[in-house]
């Protein structure tokens, strides 16, 4: 049983690390801010989630489980908010109906 759990840990943490690697690659290679954010949040959500999932069987105390899951949950919350903030900064909110768009139209390049 413990061997199966160890195998599960290794597989899940490795998968998580793979997501972090892919996310980092995307952050470096993707062409604009929004797609880079996409790559970054994928690494945070799925990568960290898989790492946490893989570590759960290695922790014996329920408090440890809650701690690990709380870390993931808080990272999700912070990542989602920061993603929104950064996306909002590069893409201004749509103007109210009927006003002409006189902004410089600065598209992310």
């Amino acid at each position: 049983m413990s061997l199966a759990l160890d195998v599960f840990t290794v597989v899940a943490v490795s998968l998580g690390a793979l997501f972090f690697l892919a996310g980092t690659l995307g952050l470096l290679r993707f062409p604009d801010t929004l797609t880079r954010l996409h790559a970054l949040t994928k690494a945070d959500n799925l990568g960290l989630g898989l790492v946490v999932l893989g570590l759960l069987p290695q922790v014996s105390s329920p408090l440890g489980w809650i701690g690990l899951i709380a870390v993931w949950f808080l990272a999700l919350l912070a990542g989602a908010t920061v993603g929104q903030l950064m996306a909002g900064a590069v893409r201004p909110a749509p103007l109210p109906e009927g006003t002409a768009d006189r902004r410089g139209g600065e598209r992310p390049s």
Binding site: A70, L74, L77, A78, A80, T81, Q84, L85, G88
Partner: protein, 317 residues
């Protein structure tokens, strides 16, 4: 084969190259961003060295809070800032380079010439620890053996806040700190500012409480509390109090005053300034830590909130 040395070598290379990049980069804002990453790497180095207390402080204060202050300063500098456009003369640069190399060589010599085993006060610190009722030797050093240093630190923070407030224009005095005022916050930020503080306060109390026996303590807890407060301020859910608010000013000096009062009482009740009477060390340290946590949190939040600005003027950057 253990991966420990590989991780250490990788960390060392990473932190050194990041340090070189921070010095070499011409843009102030980027250098400040690099400094934040540098602080997080330094925190990892402290973890590898087994100093989790220092790592927590480095990540929270060194990287997070100082990084934010630097970013704000960089954002306020004019675009044609002379530091970015002009370069010092070659002679000056050579001099600075030679002096830096000398300091680095001196430090390296000191580290390499340490006697084996290196001199250490750790056994002495551990031997007297039971008398303080604490389990974490770092807290023992900070609040029992070298309490006078910690008292000085808490007063320095109050002075730093006074220095920051003295930057306010005459007309703005009495107003609210304005540096966190910015564009109206979006829904996402407001949501985070409503959801996160209960967790943050819980984590801060936990870090404060376990500081007696495990890595943690007032500075780390206060930084988390300050972060929660600043988040609420940035999201616009609350306004910072005016700098003339009596209640806030009492909160700012409360920790240092309580520390000082307990220290002075030590002259009469124990045998020296900042000495604790027998059996009273743990409860007194707890009172000092609790009041200091509150005061430091308020001071750190106010440092980030910046000097007061005239309410009619444009919001700060």
């Amino acid at each position: 084969m253990s991966v420990g040395p590989l991780v250490d070598i990788g960390l060392a290379l990473l932190i050194l190259s990041l340090a070189v990049w921070i010095i070499a980069t011409r843009a102030t804002y980027r250098a400040a961003e690099g400094f934040v990453a540098y602080g997080l790497l330094a925190a990892l180095v402290w973890v590898r060295l087994g100093s989790v207390d220092v790592a927590l402080t480095e990540a929270a204060l060194g990287s997070g809070l100082t990084g934010l202050l630097l970013l704000r300063a960089a954002a306020r500098l004019p675009a044609d800032d002379p530091a970015e456009t002009s370069r010092p003369s070659p002679g000056l640069r050579l001099l600075v380079g030679v002096l830096s190399a000398l300091v680095a060589a001196g430090l390296a010599a000191v580290v390499l010439l340490l006697p084996e085993p290196a001199p250490s006060l750790a056994p002495a610190a551990m031997a007297s620890l039971p008398e303080t009722g604490l389990g974490n030797p770092v807290t023992g050093v900070l609040l029992a053996y070298r309490a006078v240093d910690t008292l000085g630190e808490s007063v320095v923070l109050v002075l730093a806040l006074a220095g920051l407030w003295s930057l306010a224009a005459d007309g703005a005095w009495g107003g609210r700190p304005a540096s966190l005022r910015s564009a109206p916050a979006g829904n996402a930020l407001r949501f985070l500012a409503q959801v996160l503080p209960p967790f943050g306060i819980l984590v801060a109390i936990h870090i404060f409480w376990i500081g007696a026996d495990y890595p943690g303590g007032k500075f780390q807890a206060a930084t988390i509390l300050a972060a929660m407060w600043v988040l609420v301020l940035v999201a616009g859910l609350r306004q910072p109090p005016p700098v003339t608010s009596r209640r806030m000013r009492w909160l700012v000096v409360f920790g240092s005053l309580a520390f000082l009062a307990i220290g002075l009482a030590g002259i009469g009740l124990a045998d020296a300034f900042l000495a604790y009477p027998d059996g009273w060390a743990k409860p007194l340290i707890l009172v000092i830590e609790a009041t200091l946590t509150l005061s430091i949190a308020v001071i750190l939040g106010l440092l980030l909130a910046g000097p007061p600005a005239d309410d009619r003027s444009e919001p700060g950057s």
